[in-house]
Symmetry: C2
DNA sequence: AAAGTACTTTCCTTATTGGAAAGCGAAACG
DNA sequence: CGTTTCGCTTTCCAATAAGGAAAGTACTTT
């Protein structure tokens, strides 16, 4: 049916959609946008990484550790396919979910 | 975040989208379109009914029992709100999920 | 040395889902 | 009549999944 279970979970759908818009996003930024706790974001980010959909990069800003999340090419593909599947489902109701 | 957990589950999303397009649909028709077993459809239909989103009507065709599913007004509202929430999320990625 | 930052992991409990199989009431069949 | 069949419904049974709380890690700052 085309929906990707890794992406379909509400929190992960939000994370992926957010990342699809940006090059890279900081852990804290994503956490605040999606409104989840550190632990919840950490777990979902790991799940997305394990699926090969997100790359997690660790670095520093000054001397403070920081984590960035980024959609991988596979993640972007999977996201596009997932949205296409959603569109197909929603289209049956007469609504649309497609660009233009 | 606006996503309705009752509607978000893949099988139920498909059921609701299907019902949104039609006045009423037969149990067997929905089961075949969504490609689930009798027991799975029965459970999800009950869940949707318990939420007040679907009306289940029982009757006969000739002498054979038949069950029809229909979106209730509340179900339609909830579905539209759910799709709006999906649109909002997907819109962040630059894609659209909206009619026209 | 103690506290704080930025997460990560563990622990635990609750919820959800699906498949398989048994159940059920009415009708059709031999 | 007794047995199948039809059209679902319900029960039983794991398998996951998900979140909150709290502890842990590796540094850095005070």
């Amino acid at each position: 049916m085309g929906l990707d279970p890794v992406i379909h979970a509400p929190v992960r759908l939000q994370i992926v959609a957010l990342l699809a818009a940006a090059e890279e996003a900081e852990f804290a930024f994503v956490r605040d946008q999606v409104e989840v706790s550190d632990s919840v974001l950490s777990k979902h980010a790991s799940a997305l990484e394990a699926a090969g959909y997100v790359d997690i990069r660790k670095g520093y800003v000054g001397k403070r550790p920081r984590t960035w999340l980024k959609l991988s090419a596979r993640g972007r593909q999977a996201y596009l396919a997932h949205v296409a599947a959603l569109q197909a489902i929603v289209a049956r109701s007469g609504l649309r979910l497609t660009p233009e």
